[in-house]
Amino acid sequence: MQTFPLPSVYEALLLVMQNYPDNFNEEKKLEVEALLDHCIRGLESSSEKFLATLFIKAIRKHIGSSTSFEHDENIYLRKFEVSQIELFNFLINEFPFVRDAQKLVNSSIVSLIRGHEEAVIMDIGIGQGVQMLNLLKMLDGTEGLRKITMIGIEPFGDALKVAKEKFSEADLSFKVEFYPICEFIEAFDFSGLKPILSKTSGPLIVNESLALHHVPRLIDRHKVIQCVRALKPKAFFLTEPNTDHFEPDFYKRFQNCYNHYFHIFQVIDTIPSDYRVKDGLKLFFGREIDDVIGGGDHDRSEKHEPAFRWVEKLLVAGFVMVDRFTGLPEDIGHGIEVVFNPITGGVDFKVKKETVLSILQAACVN
């Protein structure tokens, strides 16, 4: 059987995306359909086709789809869905970017708290408290540690309830006082922390993991960081995807987005898990792609920024970047390299040449 060389899916996707936002006439819509048809064939065995299908799904939301085409990618992709709770557990426990980044941050926080009788930890976007519970377990048995005051800021009340339950059930060698604050961080009045902080002693450590990029406006990101700075924490840890989805130019944003998730998908392919979970995870990231590509500028929530921009904001607020990371892993496998970045002063999780995730640590000089 004779075949002929086909162009890469990315090459085709680049052409399709050039028509955004209002150049999708009937001919261009047909191009989208042709590409989707190509991607759906053999999607299970090709990460690139899976990724492209998610991009097409996002773009079709914008342009509408041809009614004559029998493939509805939503129906087709639905078979890859995995329950949220299963995915969540997988992300936390198995997905190397989340698991190892949180482990590194937690180890670094432990080393800063060691030697103190009390400490205050403020977690922005605490969610169900998984990372913080792991941190408390790491601190368990720390000599001389008597009390941890945990402040958890989180817009979803149900998640806070779960976190509260987890902390209260934890059997630890020290006392934990938990202050759940149900609020979007950009709307939170930091002066409300005064009564809590006035009752505590020991270092204040602030952490945010994959939360600040959800603050929609730049001005609010600056404001939040400045408010954190005003608390004079001993350290402020940020864990953020290193990509520019704040970019207003659609075509550039698409390229950034493709590059970012392409490398994430490469890692997912290496995870020793069954295809059901791997495809479910890819679909999970598809929702982020939907947001970055299909969402309007004002309603997008996955507005990631590269690490150097977070550093700029930290420096403007009066922080300095510090390299006090403890427990830098030597080899976490999956083609991920964890390296110190002398430019940002943080730690990068790299796949080939692409930095997918960055961890930053900022401190106050006075």
Binding site: T3, E27, A34, L36, R41, F69
Partner: protein, 128 residues
């Protein structure tokens, strides 16, 4: 001899060599495309066509359903006497993908091949 023409195709027949040329051009609506396919099939049924050259160099993408429609007509062409069919590949990236989808659809038998230029296609055809 031109046997059919529309804004998206010119069907030309070489009665000496018994070759039917499909010269596609530009974007076709579903109706235009299927009309061109039907005209091809009708002509092949009524004339001693031994070879077909489908020149898609400047063709724009065809929708998946129309691709399937064209693939479904291939057996009729061969059962009507066509010995071999050569495609000249499109320049457009997305048309190439669509043609790839079409090729998978119809299974790419050994008497159907794809070429970068017309001369190569004709050289191969006349080996049958």
């Amino acid at each position: 001899m031109q046997v059919f023409t529309s804004p998206i195709i010119s069907l030309d027949y070489d009665s000496v060599k018994k070759v039917l040329y499909q010269n596609w051009d530009g974007f076709a609506t579903s109706i235009q495309f299927r009309e061109a396919i039907d005209k091809t099939v009708d002509f092949v049924k009524q004339n001693p066509v031994l070879y077909i050259v489908s020149n898609t160099t400047t063709q724009r993408p065809v929708g998946p359903e129309d691709g399937k429609y064209a693939a479904s007509k291939m057996p009729v062409l061969f059962s009507s006497g066509v010995k071999a069919m050569a495609f000249v590949l499109p320049k457009n990236v997305l048309t190439k993908l669509a043609l790839g989808n079409f090729a998978k659809e119809q299974g790419m038998p050994s008497n159907v091949r794809y070429f970068d230029d017309l001369q190569e296609a004709e050289d191969w055809l006349f080996t049958f």
